[in-house]
Structure formats: C-alpha cells, structure tokens
Assembly symmetry: C2
Homo-oligomer: 496 residues x 2
C-alpha cells in the first residue's frame, strides 16, 4: 500500500478534500442526487391528480378510463427511478471519493434520468407506436454508458475507490462485477429498442424485466442455496473477501433515509401548489357574487383547506413513523429496501387521494369512494412500513440496535407507533362502509385524533405494559399459590 | 455536571439514540425540514412560469401587467421562508437532541410554514382587503408560538440542549436570547394583524420589516461598533462565553448546503413537469395532421426539449460551482448566507427564463427579450455566488480551508470556475444586443460550450498559470539582469 493511500484512509471519509488535490468526499453529490431522484420519482403523480373528473360521473368508470394511463406512467417512473437509484447507490459504494470529472459525469447521468418521465408519457399516449419505447431505451443505454465511464474512470484513478477495494488483489473482479450490475439493465433496454420495431409486446416484457430483474436474480440465488444447500454460498464468501457486504447488500441506511426524505418532502408540498393556483378567487367574481366579502368567497373552499392540512398531517406522521423506525435500524437489507420503496410508492399516491377528497367533498356521488381510496392508500403505505419492521426483526442481530430488539419497552412502543396508522385506516374504511352517511365526519375525526394519539402514545404504551405486568404478576402469583398448594398437597399424596 | 450529561457528551452527537431513552439526534429531522422549506421557497415560481402570454403581445408590457403580482408572491414567499429557515437553524443550534414531542411540534410548525404561500397569493390578488395580511400574520404568530413552546420544552429537559449551553451558568440568558430572536418576527406580525383593519399600508411596512430586520439589526450593531469603537463588542464577548459562535453566526455550513441542494434539485426538475403535461401530442391530432407519424408531430416541440436540457445544464453547473465553493468553505458567516439566499432566489427564477425561451423560440417578437432575461437571471445567480467567495476571502482565516486561500493554485482554479458563468452570460447578453439576428444560435452555442469549458477548466488554468509563471520568471530574469547591469554600472557611477 502506497503512502498517500494510507494517509487517505487515516484521514477518514468525513474530513473534506485532501489539501491541494482535486479529490472530494462524495457526501453532498449523493445528497443532491438523492434529492433529484426522489423528486423525479414522485412528481409524475401531479398529472394524475390534475385529471379532471366530472362530479356527476361515477368515479369507478372514470378511474378506469382516464386515470389508468397516467397511473401507469407514475408507477413505471417510480419503479424505474428506484432501480436507477439502487444502481447509483451501488456504484457510489464502490467509488467513495469524487473529483470534478466524476461530479460532471454524474450530473449528465441525472439529466438523462430526469428526462425518463417524458418517454413514459409518450408510451402511455401511444402504446402502439415504437418511438416511445425506443426513446426510453436509448436514454437507458446512455445512462448505462455514462455509469460505465464513471466506473472505468474510478478504477483508472484507484485513490477514488473504497479503501477495501483499493487494497484488494481482486480489483479487476470487482470492476467486472459492478459493470455487470450497472450494464444488465441497459443491455435489456438495448434489446427492447431493437425489438420495438418488430414486435412491441416483447419490448414491454423486456422493460418489465429491467424492473424486476434485481429482485428476481436475488430470489433465484435464494432458491438455489435452498436446493443446493449452504455450501455453494460459503465458497463464494471466502474467495471474495468483503464481497457480500459491499456489493450484495447494496443499500446504505443513510441513502435510504435521504431518498425517503425527498419523497416525503415533495409529496407534502405538492398540494399547496394546487391550493395556490385554484383556490384564490377571482377579484371580479368576489365583487359580483359575494358583494366584496372575501371571507364569504373563501368559505366555499373550506374542504380544500381541510384536505390540505389532512394530507400534510398524514404525510408528516408517516414520515415521523419512518424516522422513528430508522433510528432503530442499523443496516437496511435489500428486502427492507424493496418494502420501503413500495411504501413510498403509496405515499406518492396520497396527493391523488386528497385531491379526490377535496373535489368530491360533500356534494357528489363519489364522496365515499374518494374517502375509501384515501384509506386504502394510507393503509398500504403504513402496512409496508410495518413490514419493514417485521423483516428487520427476522434478522434482528444484524439489522437492529440492541435496545430495540424483541421484548424490550422500546420494542412495544415501536410496535404501537407502526400499528396505529394501519389499524386506524382499516377501521375508518370499514366504518365508512357501515355508516356511509357519516363518512366525511369519520374521516376528518380520524385526521384530528391521530396526531394527539401519537403525542400520547408513550403514555398509553406505558399504562398498557404496566397493566400487562400486573396481570402477569397476578397470574404468576396464582400459579405460585397453586404450585404451593400442590406442594402442600403432594406430600400427603406421596404419603397416601 | 451530573453523570448522565457527561456520558451524553462523551458519546458524541453522531452515535444515535441513547439506549432505552427517547432522545434522538436531530440530524434527519433537520434534513427533512430543509427539504420542505427549500421546496416551499421555490415552488411558487411555477404559477409565474405558467402565466400564458400571447406571442403577439410585447413581452415588455405583458411582464408588467400579468407577471408582477405573481413575481411579488414568489419573492415574498422566498424571502419569508428563508427568514423562517434562518430562525429554525438558530433554534436547532441551541437544541441539539430531539425526542418524539419535539419532532411532532416541528412538523406542526412546518405545516403552517407550507401554508404561507397561499396567504401571499391572497395578498397579491386582493391587495386592498385586510384578510390576506391578517391570515398571514395569524400563521406567523402560530409559528412563533410553536417555536417558543419548542424552546420552553428544550430548556425544561436540559439534556436536549447543546452541551455548552447545558453546562453554562447563563442558561436563562440563553433562553431569553433565543426567545427574543424567535419571537421578534411574530410580534411584528401581530402588530401588522392589528393594523390591517385600520391602515393596510402600515401592515405591509411591518411585514417588510420582518424580512429585513435580522440584516438591519446586524447593520446597526456594525455601525455602532464602528462609531463607538471595538470596546462595546469585546465586553459582550467576555460575558457570554461562546455566545458569538452559537447565536450570532447562525448558519451551520451543513444546513446551508442542505437548503441550497433542495432549491437546486426542485428547480432542476420543475421543467420536466411542463414537458410531460404540454408536449405529449394528442393521438387524434397526430392521426389527422401528421398522418400517424409521431416523430413528425414531436419535431415541432424541438425548442422545448432544447430549453429543458439547457435549463438542466445551467442549474446543474451552477450547483456544481456552489458545491466546489462550499468544499473550500469551513464556516458560513451571516453575510455569506444572505448572498447565498440572493443567489438562490435568482436560481428559482430560471424555470421562468426557460419557459420564456421555449415559448418564444424562433417565431415571435419576444425572442431576444426572452434570451436576454435568461442571460440576466443567470448572470445575477452566478455573480452572487462569486460574491460569496469574495466575502469569504475577506475573512479567509476563519472561513476558508488553508489550501484554498489567496495565492494558491486552487484559488486560481476556484476563481476561474466562479468567473465562467458571469462572463459567459454577460458576453451572451451583449452579443444578442449587437447581433440580434443570431441570438438563438448564440444562446444555444453558449449552453453547449459551457459544460466542456468546465471539464477542461483545470487544464486551462494550469496552462494559464504556467504561462504567467514563465512570463514572471522571464521578467524576473530581466530584472535580475538589469540589476546586475546596474550593479556593474554603479561602481563606475560611484566612482565618477
């Protein structure tokens, strides 16, 4: 190991650029990339939420007719951006330091990624024309090529690499492995681009494959090890040093948090845009209709304000739960990452739900449907958070802080926090089915009660735990008494 | 000092929650708040950019008539959100750890802040009606009250405070000081709310005061010390221990970066929304007008794509310059923070500029005006970045890393990076004035050339420095020769 490398390692990753050199820590570049990617992943919900539906139309039909294409665009964008994000996370786990050239290459990569939603819009509007899918594939191939250039540049300047890979004898192996991870998507897209001119359905299948491939390959490996036993995996382990840690569990907790924060922040602020554009009355209308009384004119928008605050509270509290959860997590496995992304996809759908509740409030056929859609979206967003926690518990030695593991007081408290939203949204859903007349009242009551429930949750859990303990100790005392009785009886029995 | 406090200090701020307690590090809460605040500050440019202007109208008039109110809303929102952000930064420099209650209170505070743009929209539409300004003032007072509750809660649970304040004898003084900082805005707003029913102009003056007050008070203190000499300030210094560091220089570099990243990220992604909504042709239209050729239909949108990529490249590169600059900065003074915010306000204006360039491309009267507006906005955004650097140089001992100070190679390189955009945008502006026929060509050429200029900048600077050095050494050799000649001559002279 040469002297400057040793110096670089001793200095550690957080101490800023090496004096006089152009090498920088990648922290801020990654934070900026996370912000860009999370915004792009979520922002396509806006065209969905802006779709105008006539209040006298049945929501069921109109959803099918109008929203399907836009929701498809949103989901495709969200999933493909998360795939790109996961590849980006892996790439910058190998390359730990950057310089100006890498920063500019990364920006070029981001520029192409932010253009992807447009190609999806084209695909959704013209599903039978090959141009949309061709354009998408070309973008994906360009992204792959830029990332390959980044890898090549990184391995050509080894001081930019992760110190463990820097020192490794197997640098070429690592290089090939990371190139394989980065290029498999673009290769599939290249094939999709070629087939788009002959047989479009095959192209769509290939695109779908890009999204599920990482998880599919993981599943296949998992099945293989189950069938062939643990031997094969262990062999691999030994030959590849820290391979598993750096390349196979790709999600650094910090970047999962940064990406999630971006999604929560943009979703929380999307609705104020609509409020500002649509709910400012026209001065002339106020003069004519309301005799110049602004307050009266604004009172008609009441449901919209409620929808805005309701949306913000829900998203804010779901962020709060996510934040609490990740305080206890030490490492995010790939499955936890996948569940997190699914949860975020539903979070992204919340503006749509609240757009519905504000548009159909009070006076239309679709009021109950709108509230039920909101409940369902909230339920799925929160149940996937709960699933992250459950998955973490399966591997609690590796993934959780010691004090948060099964059995402690913190564990019970976390459980209560995570269970609150799924229970309440499910409860509200069934209540609206039963008491359809009071659905709006139930929904708003739920929104008002939940924040206070969170504030008082610690007290509730403490009371509950004390109650359980006293019940347990009572029953234990009974058991002890019974045992004593038995013990008193048994001598007689043995005597008799 | 009690034992648990000492333990808390030894554990350091970055090591996660204390086992079994509810105290958490505030890092992620602050990152999320920064993301929310930066998005809210910037997102109000969208209504400005979406204002439709007829291509046959003169841009000069229409800007005056239609855009003024919306631009005012954008600027007011941006400035007031940055004031709220600065107060938030100070607050969480005093309170370093959080618990669930503080996290929920902070979310409530964020909810009211994100509602502020709506009150500005009301004000802009109904400047003569007191309700808009009243609503804004009420929101500001609520924000102030929530933050006061946060302060009270923090000082009631001292283990949440900054360790230096925890140990200080002057805790009550700190409490009063931070309350003063947080409540002076809301008190002014409360007065504005009262006056809004009697005399509206005074309310607006009071609101303006909220924005300029922090800087005004700084200026007054500065003038006072100039007039009364250094004595007064130094006395304060001694009595308040680390007072200046924690309360008077309120901007932690990390949060300035996080806020700026949020603004750059949201601005960079705003345009793709418009592209996705407006530039997907209608399937029926494609069938009728273009005989089913999608490619032909899309070719009419060429200028929009150019505008999108141009916008992304400009914002990306300005982020890159900002990133490079803050790598060299160790501490952000208040003046640097102010300049940064001014730069960000112009960055927020870029989507407007590119909306103009894409709408008026080629075929209207306003082509040159649109390009010139773009150049002016780019120029101001980049010149304020340059001003941050200049301000940092005034205090370079305190604010810059040693290797980046005046005279080094890195200094010259940074200078070149910062000077590139102001020079190019100014050049493009004057070229469009002179060669008005080729203005579009000049503008697009500029956008294509700049990324390559950044890539090659290090080489240019190196060549330039080598050239200067060789010229210097040549001239020095000449000087030496001359001196030698003089030295040869002088004995004669002294002889004569």
């Amino acid at each position: 190991m040469s002297a400057p490398r040793a110096a670089a390692r001793e200095r550690g990753p957080g101490l800023g650029p090496e004096p006089g050199s152009s090498t920088q820590t990648s922290h801020r570049l990654l934070a900026y990339s996370d912000a860009l990617l999370s915004i792009i992943a979520t922002v396509m919900i806006l065209p969905v939420a802006h779709t105008k539906i006539h209040p006298d139309q049945k929501l069921g039909e109109s959803v099918q007719q109008l929203l399907l294409a836009k929701i498809a665009v949103y989901l495709m964008t969200f999933l493909i951006v998360t795939v790109a994000w996961a590849a980006h996370v892996r790439l910058f786990q190998v390359i730990e330091h950057i310089d100006d050239v890498l920063a500019l290459l990364n920006l070029a990569c981001m520029m192409i990624i932010t253009f992807l939603p447009y190609t999806f819009s084209l695909m959704a509007s013209f599903p039978g024309v090959p141009f949309g899918i061709f354009l998408f594939s070309v973008c994906a191939v360009i992204i792959g090529l830029i990332q390959a250039v980044i890898v090549a540049y990184g391995f050509y300047h080894p001081h930019l690499l992760n110190p463990q890979i820097q020192e490794s004898e197997n640098q070429n192996f690592y290089k090939r492995h990371i190139l394989k991870i980065i290029l498999r998507g673009p290769v599939l897209c290249f094939l999709a681009a070629i087939f788009s001119f002959f047989f479009i359905p095959l192209s769509y299948v290939l695109l779908g494959l890009v999204i599920v491939f990482p998880h599919l390959s993981r599943l296949i490996t998992w099945c293989k090890t189950k069938v062939l036993g643990q031997r094969g995996e262990e062999e691999e382990h030994h030959s590849l040093e820290t391979f598993t840690f750096y390349l196979s569990e790709p999600l650094s907790k910090e970047r999962v948090e940064a990406f999630s924060d971006g999604v929560y922040a943009i979703v929380a602020t999307l609705l104020i845009l609509d409020i500002c554009e649509d709910n400012v009355p026209d001065p002339r209308e106020v003069e004519e209709k309301f005799h110049g009384s602004l307050l009266e004119a604004l009172s008609q928008y009441g449901p919209n304000y409620l929808a805005y605050f309701g949306s913000f509270v829900t998203i804010g509290l779901l962020w709060f739960v996510h934040h609490s959860l990740f305080l206890y997590v030490t490492k995010a496995t790939r499955l936890m990452g996948l569940l997190n992304i699914l949860s975020l996809a539903f979070i992204g759908g919340l503006p749509l739900a609240y757009q519905l509740t504000s548009e159909f409030a009070e006076k239309s056929h679709n009021e109950i449907e709108a509230i039920q859609v909101s409940c369902v979206i909230t339920f799925f967003a929160s149940i996937f958070q709960f699933a992250i926690w459950t998955t973490a518990l399966l591997n609690e030695e590796e993934t959780l802080h010691a004090f948060a593991r099964y059995g402690g007081k913190e564990h019970a408290f976390m459980f209560a926090k995570l269970a609150l939203y799924p229970c309440v949204s499910l409860g509200a859903f069934f209540l609206t089915c039963l008491l359809s007349e009071f659905s709006t009242a139930i929904f708003h009551l739920m929104q008002i009660v939940i924040p206070f429930a969170f504030l008082a949750l610690r007290i509730f859990v403490r009371i509950f735990l004390t109650a359980i303990k006293s019940v347990m100790s009572l029953s234990r005392r009974k058991v002890v008494l019974l045992e004593e009785e038995e013990a008193c009886l048994s001598p007689n029995e043995t005597l008799s």
